[in-house]
Amino acid sequence: MSEQEYYVPHGTYWPIIGSIGVSTLFVGFANQMHGVEWGASVMVLGFAILVFMMFGWFGQVVNESTNGIYNKQVDRSFRWGMSWFIFSEVMFFAAFFGALFYARALSVPWLGGADNNIFTPDLWNAFSASWHQMAFLAPGTELQSGTVMSFPAVPESGIATATPADVVDPWGLPALNTALLLASGVTLTFAHHALRAGHRNQIVGWLVATIALGAAFLGFQVMEYGHAYHDGLKLTSGIYGSTFYMLTGFHGFHVTVGVIMLTVILYRIQKGHFNADNHFGFEGVAWYWHFVDVVWLGLFVFVYWL
Protein backbone atom coordinates (compact mmCIF):
# COMPACT_ATOMS: atom_id res chain seq x y z
CA MET A 1 0.00 0.00 0.00
CA SER A 2 1.45 3.38 -0.93
CA GLU A 3 2.27 6.12 1.55
CA GLN A 4 -0.32 8.46 0.07
CA GLU A 5 -3.29 6.18 0.48
CA TYR A 6 -5.12 5.94 3.76
CA TYR A 7 -6.24 2.47 4.70
CA VAL A 8 -10.03 2.35 4.75
CA PRO A 9 -11.35 -0.45 6.91
CA HIS A 10 -13.65 -2.97 5.28
CA GLY A 11 -17.24 -3.36 6.35
CA THR A 12 -17.28 -5.19 9.65
CA TYR A 13 -19.86 -6.66 11.99
CA TRP A 14 -17.65 -6.56 15.13
CA PRO A 15 -18.88 -3.18 16.48
CA ILE A 16 -22.53 -4.29 16.56
CA ILE A 17 -21.52 -7.55 18.23
CA GLY A 18 -19.60 -5.52 20.83
CA SER A 19 -22.67 -3.32 21.42
CA ILE A 20 -24.89 -6.36 21.87
CA GLY A 21 -22.33 -7.82 24.30
CA VAL A 22 -22.13 -4.66 26.43
CA SER A 23 -25.92 -4.21 26.48
CA THR A 24 -26.45 -7.84 27.49
CA LEU A 25 -23.81 -7.49 30.22
CA PHE A 26 -25.46 -4.38 31.68
CA VAL A 27 -29.00 -5.75 31.50
CA GLY A 28 -27.76 -8.84 33.34
CA PHE A 29 -25.85 -6.77 35.89
CA ALA A 30 -28.79 -4.43 36.62
CA ASN A 31 -31.14 -7.37 37.10
CA GLN A 32 -28.59 -9.19 39.22
CA MET A 33 -28.43 -6.11 41.48
CA HIS A 34 -32.22 -6.30 41.83
CA GLY A 35 -32.02 -9.96 42.77
CA VAL A 36 -33.60 -11.25 39.57
CA GLU A 37 -32.94 -14.95 39.14
CA TRP A 38 -31.63 -14.86 35.56
CA GLY A 39 -29.45 -11.77 36.11
CA ALA A 40 -26.18 -13.61 36.65
CA SER A 41 -26.68 -15.92 33.64
CA VAL A 42 -27.35 -12.98 31.32
CA MET A 43 -24.26 -11.22 32.72
CA VAL A 44 -22.09 -14.23 31.91
CA LEU A 45 -23.63 -14.41 28.42
CA GLY A 46 -22.88 -10.70 27.83
CA PHE A 47 -19.30 -11.16 29.00
CA ALA A 48 -18.89 -14.19 26.72
CA ILE A 49 -20.13 -12.13 23.74
CA LEU A 50 -17.61 -9.39 24.61
CA VAL A 51 -14.74 -11.87 24.81
CA PHE A 52 -15.83 -13.38 21.47
CA MET A 53 -15.85 -9.89 19.94
CA MET A 54 -12.36 -9.08 21.30
CA PHE A 55 -10.87 -12.31 19.99
CA GLY A 56 -12.50 -11.84 16.59
CA TRP A 57 -11.84 -8.13 16.13
CA PHE A 58 -8.32 -8.00 17.55
CA GLY A 59 -7.45 -11.18 15.66
CA GLN A 60 -8.60 -9.57 12.43
CA VAL A 61 -6.46 -6.47 13.08
CA VAL A 62 -3.44 -8.68 13.83
CA ASN A 63 -3.99 -10.59 10.58
CA GLU A 64 -4.26 -7.38 8.60
CA SER A 65 -1.06 -6.13 10.20
CA THR A 66 0.93 -9.29 9.52
CA ASN A 67 -0.36 -9.37 5.92
CA GLY A 68 1.22 -5.96 5.35
CA ILE A 69 -2.02 -4.10 4.66
CA TYR A 70 -1.18 -1.22 7.02
CA ASN A 71 1.10 1.67 6.08
CA LYS A 72 2.87 4.32 8.18
CA GLN A 73 -0.21 6.46 8.41
CA VAL A 74 -2.14 3.61 10.03
CA ASP A 75 0.82 3.06 12.35
CA ARG A 76 0.58 6.71 13.43
CA SER A 77 -3.16 6.41 14.03
CA PHE A 78 -2.57 3.38 16.28
CA ARG A 79 0.01 5.34 18.28
CA TRP A 80 -2.30 8.32 18.69
CA GLY A 81 -5.18 6.03 19.63
CA MET A 82 -3.03 4.48 22.35
CA SER A 83 -1.98 7.90 23.65
CA TRP A 84 -5.64 9.02 24.01
CA PHE A 85 -6.47 5.80 25.79
CA ILE A 86 -3.57 6.47 28.16
CA PHE A 87 -4.77 10.04 28.69
CA SER A 88 -8.16 8.71 29.82
CA GLU A 89 -6.41 6.28 32.16
CA VAL A 90 -4.31 9.04 33.71
CA MET A 91 -7.44 11.15 34.27
CA PHE A 92 -9.23 8.13 35.76
CA PHE A 93 -6.58 7.52 38.41
CA ALA A 94 -6.02 11.24 38.95
CA ALA A 95 -9.66 11.52 40.02
CA PHE A 96 -9.28 8.80 42.65
CA PHE A 97 -5.96 10.15 43.92
CA GLY A 98 -7.61 13.58 44.04
CA ALA A 99 -10.45 12.15 46.14
CA LEU A 100 -7.87 10.62 48.48
CA PHE A 101 -6.04 13.92 48.97
CA TYR A 102 -9.25 15.90 49.35
CA ALA A 103 -10.69 13.60 51.98
CA ARG A 104 -7.47 13.20 53.87
CA ALA A 105 -6.16 16.77 53.84
CA LEU A 106 -9.38 18.77 53.79
CA SER A 107 -12.81 17.28 54.37
CA VAL A 108 -12.06 14.92 57.26
CA PRO A 109 -10.11 17.56 59.25
CA TRP A 110 -12.93 20.05 58.61
CA LEU A 111 -15.51 17.62 59.93
CA GLY A 112 -13.29 17.13 62.94
CA GLY A 113 -13.29 20.83 63.75
CA ALA A 114 -10.27 22.20 61.91
CA ASP A 115 -10.13 25.73 60.50
CA ASN A 116 -12.14 27.50 63.20
CA ASN A 117 -14.98 25.02 62.77
CA ILE A 118 -16.32 27.00 59.84
CA PHE A 119 -17.01 23.82 57.98
CA THR A 120 -17.94 21.75 60.97
CA PRO A 121 -21.66 21.31 61.19
CA ASP A 122 -23.21 19.70 64.21
CA LEU A 123 -23.45 16.41 62.41
CA TRP A 124 -22.31 14.35 65.32
CA ASN A 125 -20.54 15.77 68.30
CA ALA A 126 -18.71 12.56 69.01
CA PHE A 127 -17.16 12.40 65.54
CA SER A 128 -13.47 11.68 65.79
CA ALA A 129 -11.48 12.81 62.78
CA SER A 130 -8.79 10.29 61.99
CA TRP A 131 -6.95 9.24 58.89
CA HIS A 132 -4.92 6.20 59.43
CA GLN A 133 -4.02 3.13 57.57
CA MET A 134 -5.45 1.29 60.49
CA ALA A 135 -6.89 3.52 63.19
CA PHE A 136 -7.32 0.57 65.45
CA LEU A 137 -8.07 0.54 69.08
CA ALA A 138 -6.15 -1.55 71.52
CA PRO A 139 -7.79 -4.95 71.91
CA GLY A 140 -10.49 -4.88 74.53
CA THR A 141 -11.00 -1.13 74.36
CA GLU A 142 -14.64 -0.34 74.86
CA LEU A 143 -16.04 2.52 72.86
CA GLN A 144 -18.39 4.99 74.38
CA SER A 145 -21.81 4.52 72.87
CA GLY A 146 -22.37 6.72 69.85
CA THR A 147 -18.72 7.26 68.96
CA VAL A 148 -18.20 7.58 65.23
CA MET A 149 -14.85 7.45 63.52
CA SER A 150 -13.96 8.31 59.96
CA PHE A 151 -12.69 4.78 59.74
CA PRO A 152 -14.98 2.68 61.93
CA ALA A 153 -12.90 -0.46 61.96
CA VAL A 154 -14.54 -1.65 65.07
CA PRO A 155 -16.85 -4.63 65.34
CA GLU A 156 -20.51 -4.03 66.08
CA SER A 157 -19.97 -5.16 69.65
CA GLY A 158 -18.08 -1.91 70.18
CA ILE A 159 -15.11 -3.77 71.60
CA ALA A 160 -11.99 -3.70 69.47
CA THR A 161 -10.33 -7.01 68.74
CA ALA A 162 -7.79 -6.37 66.02
CA THR A 163 -4.43 -4.70 66.19
CA PRO A 164 -2.67 -2.94 63.30
CA ALA A 165 -0.24 -5.80 62.90
CA ASP A 166 -3.19 -8.14 62.44
CA VAL A 167 -4.48 -6.26 59.45
CA VAL A 168 -2.36 -4.37 56.94
CA ASP A 169 1.23 -3.73 57.77
CA PRO A 170 3.16 -1.74 55.12
CA TRP A 171 6.22 -3.87 55.86
CA GLY A 172 4.32 -7.03 55.01
CA LEU A 173 2.30 -7.75 51.90
CA PRO A 174 2.23 -4.18 50.50
CA ALA A 175 6.04 -3.99 50.55
CA LEU A 176 6.32 -7.46 49.04
CA ASN A 177 3.80 -6.54 46.33
CA THR A 178 5.67 -3.32 45.56
CA ALA A 179 8.90 -5.29 45.19
CA LEU A 180 7.13 -7.79 42.90
CA LEU A 181 5.72 -5.08 40.62
CA LEU A 182 9.02 -3.20 40.52
CA ALA A 183 10.79 -6.43 39.61
CA SER A 184 8.23 -6.97 36.84
CA GLY A 185 9.10 -3.50 35.50
CA VAL A 186 12.76 -4.51 35.44
CA THR A 187 12.12 -7.86 33.70
CA LEU A 188 9.89 -6.13 31.14
CA THR A 189 12.68 -3.64 30.43
CA PHE A 190 15.05 -6.57 29.79
CA ALA A 191 12.44 -8.09 27.46
CA HIS A 192 12.16 -4.74 25.66
CA HIS A 193 15.94 -4.60 25.27
CA ALA A 194 16.05 -8.19 23.98
CA LEU A 195 13.33 -7.39 21.42
CA ARG A 196 15.22 -4.34 20.15
CA ALA A 197 18.37 -6.47 19.92
CA GLY A 198 16.53 -9.29 18.15
CA HIS A 199 17.09 -11.99 20.79
CA ARG A 200 13.83 -13.90 20.69
CA ASN A 201 14.61 -16.56 23.29
CA GLN A 202 15.55 -13.93 25.83
CA ILE A 203 12.36 -11.98 25.16
CA VAL A 204 10.26 -15.04 25.91
CA GLY A 205 12.11 -15.72 29.17
CA TRP A 206 11.84 -12.15 30.45
CA LEU A 207 8.21 -11.86 29.40
CA VAL A 208 7.28 -15.10 31.17
CA ALA A 209 9.00 -13.73 34.30
CA THR A 210 7.05 -10.47 33.99
CA ILE A 211 3.73 -12.32 33.66
CA ALA A 212 4.58 -14.57 36.63
CA LEU A 213 5.46 -11.56 38.80
CA GLY A 214 2.21 -9.82 37.82
CA ALA A 215 0.19 -12.94 38.61
CA ALA A 216 1.96 -13.28 41.98
CA PHE A 217 1.09 -9.66 42.75
CA LEU A 218 -2.58 -10.38 42.07
CA GLY A 219 -2.50 -13.48 44.26
CA PHE A 220 -1.04 -11.56 47.20
CA GLN A 221 -3.50 -8.72 46.64
CA VAL A 222 -6.38 -11.18 46.97
CA MET A 223 -4.82 -12.41 50.22
CA GLU A 224 -4.52 -8.85 51.50
CA TYR A 225 -8.13 -8.09 50.65
CA GLY A 226 -9.28 -11.21 52.47
CA HIS A 227 -7.24 -10.17 55.48
CA ALA A 228 -8.47 -6.56 55.54
CA TYR A 229 -12.09 -7.51 54.89
CA HIS A 230 -12.05 -10.12 57.61
CA ASP A 231 -10.81 -7.53 60.11
CA GLY A 232 -13.51 -5.02 59.31
CA LEU A 233 -12.15 -2.82 56.51
CA LYS A 234 -14.90 -2.73 53.89
CA LEU A 235 -16.01 -0.52 51.02
CA THR A 236 -18.53 0.90 53.49
CA SER A 237 -15.89 1.61 56.18
CA GLY A 238 -16.08 5.36 55.86
CA ILE A 239 -14.09 7.46 53.43
CA TYR A 240 -10.89 5.53 54.11
CA GLY A 241 -12.44 2.19 53.17
CA SER A 242 -14.07 3.67 50.06
CA THR A 243 -10.91 5.27 48.68
CA PHE A 244 -8.73 2.32 49.69
CA TYR A 245 -10.85 -0.22 47.82
CA MET A 246 -11.59 2.03 44.84
CA LEU A 247 -7.91 2.79 44.26
CA THR A 248 -6.44 -0.62 44.96
CA GLY A 249 -9.42 -2.42 43.35
CA PHE A 250 -9.22 -0.56 40.06
CA HIS A 251 -5.45 -0.89 40.12
CA GLY A 252 -5.79 -4.66 40.59
CA PHE A 253 -8.22 -4.73 37.64
CA HIS A 254 -5.64 -2.92 35.51
CA VAL A 255 -2.92 -5.37 36.53
CA THR A 256 -5.26 -8.21 35.51
CA VAL A 257 -5.81 -6.60 32.10
CA GLY A 258 -2.05 -6.00 31.82
CA VAL A 259 -1.26 -9.66 32.53
CA ILE A 260 -3.75 -10.72 29.83
CA MET A 261 -2.23 -8.27 27.35
CA LEU A 262 1.33 -9.42 28.14
CA THR A 263 0.22 -13.02 27.60
CA VAL A 264 -1.18 -12.08 24.18
CA ILE A 265 2.10 -10.32 23.36
CA LEU A 266 4.04 -13.44 24.43
CA TYR A 267 1.88 -15.50 22.05
CA ARG A 268 2.45 -13.00 19.23
CA ILE A 269 6.22 -13.01 19.81
CA GLN A 270 6.26 -16.78 19.54
CA LYS A 271 4.29 -16.44 16.31
CA GLY A 272 6.98 -14.07 15.01
CA HIS A 273 4.72 -11.02 14.68
CA PHE A 274 7.37 -8.54 15.86
CA ASN A 275 10.88 -7.63 14.86
CA ALA A 276 13.52 -5.20 16.18
CA ASP A 277 12.17 -2.29 14.11
CA ASN A 278 8.46 -2.97 14.08
CA HIS A 279 6.81 -3.82 17.41
CA PHE A 280 4.20 -1.22 18.29
CA GLY A 281 1.96 -3.86 19.94
CA PHE A 282 4.76 -4.62 22.39
CA GLU A 283 5.51 -0.92 22.99
CA GLY A 284 1.87 -0.10 23.76
CA VAL A 285 1.53 -2.93 26.28
CA ALA A 286 4.97 -2.20 27.80
CA TRP A 287 4.08 1.45 28.40
CA TYR A 288 0.75 0.42 29.90
CA TRP A 289 2.53 -1.95 32.30
CA HIS A 290 5.00 0.76 33.33
CA PHE A 291 2.07 3.09 33.98
CA VAL A 292 0.26 0.53 36.15
CA ASP A 293 3.53 -0.01 38.01
CA VAL A 294 3.88 3.74 38.71
CA VAL A 295 0.27 3.95 39.92
CA TRP A 296 1.00 1.24 42.47
CA LEU A 297 4.16 3.01 43.56
CA GLY A 298 2.04 6.13 44.17
CA LEU A 299 -0.45 4.05 46.12
CA PHE A 300 2.26 2.44 48.20
CA VAL A 301 3.86 5.77 49.09
CA PHE A 302 0.71 7.86 49.65
CA VAL A 303 -1.79 5.33 51.00
CA TYR A 304 0.49 3.22 53.14
CA TRP A 305 3.32 5.55 54.15
CA LEU A 306 3.09 9.32 53.77
Binding site: N125, M134, P170
Partner: protein, 80 residues
Protein backbone atom coordinates in the same frame (compact mmCIF):
# COMPACT_ATOMS: atom_id res chain seq x y z
CA UNK B 1 12.69 15.92 54.38
CA UNK B 2 12.20 12.33 53.27
CA UNK B 3 8.71 13.26 52.11
CA UNK B 4 10.11 16.06 49.94
CA UNK B 5 12.67 13.71 48.36
CA UNK B 6 9.97 11.10 47.78
CA UNK B 7 7.69 13.61 46.05
CA UNK B 8 10.58 14.91 43.90
CA UNK B 9 11.42 11.37 42.78
CA UNK B 10 7.75 10.65 42.03
CA UNK B 11 7.56 13.79 39.86
CA UNK B 12 10.77 12.70 38.08
CA UNK B 13 9.25 9.25 37.49
CA UNK B 14 6.13 10.82 35.97
CA UNK B 15 8.28 13.02 33.72
CA UNK B 16 10.29 9.99 32.54
CA UNK B 17 7.05 8.10 31.88
CA UNK B 18 5.78 11.12 29.93
CA UNK B 19 8.92 11.20 27.77
CA UNK B 20 8.43 7.49 27.14
CA UNK B 21 4.90 8.21 25.93
CA UNK B 22 6.15 10.96 23.61
CA UNK B 23 8.69 8.52 22.17
CA UNK B 24 6.00 5.91 21.62
CA UNK B 25 3.68 8.34 19.84
CA UNK B 26 6.54 9.60 17.68
CA UNK B 27 7.51 6.09 16.54
CA UNK B 28 10.38 5.22 14.22
CA UNK B 29 13.94 4.55 15.32
CA UNK B 30 14.35 7.86 17.17
CA UNK B 31 11.03 7.50 19.00
CA UNK B 32 11.74 3.90 19.92
CA UNK B 33 15.16 4.84 21.33
CA UNK B 34 13.69 7.70 23.31
CA UNK B 35 10.93 5.50 24.70
CA UNK B 36 13.33 2.79 25.80
CA UNK B 37 15.76 5.19 27.49
CA UNK B 38 12.92 6.96 29.30
CA UNK B 39 11.51 3.69 30.59
CA UNK B 40 14.93 2.59 31.83
CA UNK B 41 15.13 5.91 33.73
CA UNK B 42 11.62 5.34 35.07
CA UNK B 43 12.46 1.86 36.38
CA UNK B 44 15.74 3.04 37.97
CA UNK B 45 14.05 5.94 39.74
CA UNK B 46 11.25 3.66 40.96
CA UNK B 47 13.73 1.26 42.53
CA UNK B 48 15.49 4.25 44.13
CA UNK B 49 12.18 5.51 45.58
CA UNK B 50 11.27 2.11 46.98
CA UNK B 51 14.66 1.73 48.64
CA UNK B 52 14.43 5.28 50.02
CA UNK B 53 10.96 4.76 51.52
CA UNK B 54 11.82 1.41 53.06
CA UNK B 55 15.12 2.70 54.45
CA UNK B 56 13.44 5.84 55.84
CA UNK B 57 10.80 3.65 57.45
CA UNK B 58 13.46 1.39 58.92
CA UNK B 59 15.37 4.37 60.31
CA UNK B 60 12.17 5.84 61.74
CA UNK B 61 12.35 8.99 59.62
CA UNK B 62 8.82 8.29 58.41
CA UNK B 63 6.12 6.24 60.03
CA UNK B 64 3.43 4.28 58.22
CA UNK B 65 -0.16 5.36 58.52
CA UNK B 66 -0.72 2.74 61.17
CA UNK B 67 -1.19 3.92 64.70
CA UNK B 68 -2.57 2.34 67.79
CA UNK B 69 -5.24 4.35 69.50
CA UNK B 70 -5.17 3.05 73.01
CA UNK B 71 -7.80 5.15 74.67
CA UNK B 72 -11.53 5.36 73.97
CA UNK B 73 -11.69 7.63 70.97
CA UNK B 74 -14.16 10.22 72.02
CA UNK B 75 -13.56 13.78 71.04
CA UNK B 76 -15.01 16.54 73.13
CA UNK B 77 -18.03 18.14 71.51
CA UNK B 78 -17.06 21.02 69.32
CA UNK B 79 -17.50 24.32 71.08
CA UNK B 80 -18.97 27.04 68.95
Amino acid sequence: MTEVFAVIIIVAILVALGFGLVGMVKGGKAGSDRMFKSLVTRVSLSVLLFVLVMFAGYMGWITPNAVMVDAPVVQAPVQK
